[in-house]
């Protein structure tokens, strides 16, 4: 720095220094600055994480398809149906190679029928659509971020979606007075792997938008293993003798958000789902065609002027 300048140029120089500093400074949450180990020598899981897969839509291998479908011209090529018709390309299920080991969920026969029916009534039944707590493991692979706060005796995970959260108890297993949406998690370290046992669930959560469900006998074992400082292998074993013929496994990767301005912002769906689920109770309904508790949709899609040129 120069040591002699008048007030004006001094202020200008200071402004330039500030500007340069602002451009080059790394925020302390800047995820690149993180150490791979926590103070107690365990892998450092702190940060904001998110999957990049499509498990929340469908756990099994699947191709692109309408989120809500109606029969099209060809039996195996359904087209977008009213609730998502106007959404076009935004109303489609993204394709995915699947996250289930062996590409099969071992439903008991009656449970398989239930899953199929659930999928057909997805919008009416999926607790996600209602902004309910997603349960475990679904919370881990919803397409929204979550933050891990890792201490030595507890690990807290807070999910953007619906402000859901979970505590993983590492040194205790407090008694559970009632079934829980998110279950009770107890964990321990096996080398570099965090192993979490989750039980005491209610039977209200799902695994995906494709109708995969469980009973209150659900027992989940999760394994979190760092594969790089910014990626975790996430393996889940699902056990529920009321619904499945045997335990089954999912496997996927969780990625750390590396953006300088990464922030966990609540996906506050609470009040935004009121119109969907309470709209029929309004004195003056905003949706004009209610039949009892059924929304009768008139989907309006105006053809853009640009397109019209080519339709003459």
């Amino acid at each position: 720095m120069r040591t002699r300048f008048n007030r004006f140029s001094g202020a200008a120089a200071a402004a330039v220094v500030v500007a340069i500093f602002a451009l080059t400074s790394i925020y302390t949450t800047g995820q690149a600055t993180r150490t791979p180990r926590a103070a107690d020598g365990k892998p450092n899981l702190n940060g904001i994480w998110q999957v990049t897969n499509t498990a929340n839509w469908d756990l099994l291998p699947h191709t692109i398809r309408p989120a809500v479908a109606q029969p099209g011209v060809y039996a195996n090529h359904p087209v977008l149906a009213a609730p998502v018709l106007a959404l076009g390309a935004a109303g489609l299920v993204p394709p995915g190679p699947g996250v289930v080991e062996g590409d099969q969920i071992p439903y008991k026969p009656e449970a398989a029928a239930q899953k199929k029916e659930n999928a057909e009534h997805w919008l009416d039944r999926d607790p996600e659509v209602r902004c309910y707590m997603p349960g475990i493991p679904r919370a881990m692979y919803m397409p929204y971020p979550f933050q891990i706060t890792q201490s030595t005796n507890k690990i807290q995970m807070v999910f953007a979606y619906a402000n859901a959260s979970r505590t993983i108890y590492l040194d205790a297993a407090p008694a559970v007075p009632a079934d829980l949406w998110m279950g009770r998690s107890t964990g321990h370290w096996e080398g570099n792997t965090l192993v979490v046992d989750v039980a005491h669930f209610n039977d209200r959560t799902w695994f995906s938008r494709s109708g995969d469900f469980h009973s209150d006998a659900l027992h989940v074992v999760e394994r979190f293993t760092p594969i790089t400082p910014d990626a975790l292998r996430y393996e889940v074993t699902i056990e529920d003798p009321n619904v499945f013929t045997r335990p089954w496994k999912m496997k996927m990767v969780l990625y750390r958000q590396l953006d300088d301005n990464a922030a966990l912002m609540d996906y506050r769906c609470l009040e935004l789902v009121e119109e969907t689920f309470l709209g029929h109770t309004r004195k003056e309904p905003l949706v004009k065609h209610w039949e009892g508790e059924t929304i009768m949709l008139d989907v309006t899609r105006r053809i853009p002027p640009g397109d019209k040129r080519y339709e003459r």
Partner: protein, 396 residues
């Protein structure tokens, strides 16, 4: 919790803050050891985390009653005398012995089955565990010197008076309102983003914030007794994660990043704001901005600016301070301090909220009102506009 959530969804918006306010009614509640005295206790005794920062972790609750605002009789005295404390404690104990809500009457008759009884919703069972300890401090508020929330700005006073008049208009001509014809203002939207209990249920927006499971506003002022709430704090070098089990099932998670990133863009409004924490010596200082108009902290809406300070005073005490600032609401900032006590965090499970998941009450209130509308149209019931479904709670 499901069980609690089902009850929650009735009409009484009993948040921790209102419990504290209720404790003020008698003008006898008081406080614990002074903030200064607490700060003077040796900080060296306070535990440290494995990475060297003060350890704020644990499950914390407020077992000692201190009113938010100071009863005027104490003037600028922050701590009461032993005699005053003995007298106030005796009054608190006497109040705890009084017959509760179930025995209350309306107009000299048992309340059961009346409009007010329906709106009141909770019976005495839900008020079972009353605060029994009384602090020496005369108020949580430490600044200004009179221990009271500063006056509203003229702008805020008008905004709040306008809303109060609107709420009064909706009650006009009912058993709980002033005399007069049914007000044409029933057809008007609320003067603000409504969070109050108003005498109309045309849609979900007409119901109070707690009835819609909004709950859990910042800053949390912990109450005492059954509805007092607990908080669980888990700490890492780059974040502090708090779960507040408050407001009867309106529990919520609050993650405070320890970071030097700037606040989010001013255009971004969040129900619980944008929190950024940093350490000042042994104190975790959290700056919270970017609130939305969907919260109402003593009259402050989207322009609230909070500075919270968390400090471990000793092994069993966590001092939680907030300074609330909003030049569009108050004539000056104000500060309050709570001292929370530690619970056993190995046997205590802090329960998930579940208010929204069990909120059949909101649906029920709206459906019932539609049924009442229909009955009126068919000549089978009174005009719902003439009924009071708003004032039954609290001490009525």
């Amino acid at each position: 919790m499901n069980t609690r959530a089902r009850f929650l969804t009735w009409l009484v918006p009993l948040t921790a803050a209102t419990i504290v306010a209720a404790a003020l009614d008698g003008g006898t509640a008081a406080g614990q050891g002074s903030g200064q005295a607490a700060a003077a206790r040796s900080a060296s005794r306070s535990p440290r985390t494995a990475w060297g920062t003060p350890d704020l972790q644990g499950i914390w609750s407020n077992n000692i009653l201190v009113p938010l605002e100071r009863p005027r009789e104490f003037g600028t005295r922050a701590v009461m005398t032993r005699e005053e404390h003995a007298k106030a404690l005796a009054e608190l104990q006497a109040r705890n012995q009084r017959p509760g809500r179930d025995s209350r009457e309306v107009g000299g008759k048992p309340a059961i089955g009346t409009e007010k009884d329906v709106a009141r919703a909770y019976n005495e069972f839900w008020f079972g565990d009353k605060p029994t300890q009384l602090g020496m401090r005369t108020s949580m508020i430490t600044d200004p010197a009179d221990g009271r929330i500063p006056p509203f700005t003229p702008e805020a006073a008008k905004r709040i008076a306008d809303k109060r008049e609107y709420l009064a208009a909706l009650l006009q001509g009912t058993s709980g309102g002033r005399p007069g014809p049914i007000s044409p203002r029933r057809a008007e939207p609320s003067t603000d983003y409504n969070l109050d209990r108003m005498n109309r249920a045309d849609g979900p927006e007409d119901r109070g914030g707690p009835e819609r499971c909004f709950g859990g506003e910042l800053p949390v002022v912990m109450g005492t007794g059954t509805f007092g709430g607990v908080m669980q704090l888990v700490q890492a070098p780059d974040s502090v994660s708090i779960y507040y089990d408050v407001g009867q099932g309106s529990g919520f998670a609050w993650v405070i990043p320890i970071t030097n990133r700037p606040h989010l863009s001013k255009n971004v409004q969040l129900y619980r704001g944008d929190a950024i924490g940093h350490w000042e010596g042994d104190t975790l200082v959290v700056d919270v901005t970017n609130f939305s108009d969907e919260t109402n902290f003593h009259g402050s809406r989207a322009n609230l600016h909070l500075i919270q300070r968390f400090k471990r005073v000793d092994a069993n005490t966590l001092s939680v301070e907030f300074t609330a600032e909003d030049p569009t609401t108050w004539t000056r900032p104000w500060t309050a301090v709570q001292e929370l006590q530690k619970s056993d965090d190995k046997t205590t499970l802090v329960l998930e909220g579940g208010c929204h998941e069990g909120n059949y009450g909101l649906l029920g209130m709206l459906l019932n009102t539609r049924a009442a509308d229909q009955a009126f149209r068919e000549g089978k019931g009174p005009d719902p506009a003439t009924q009071d479904n708003a004032t039954g709670g609290g001490d009525n």
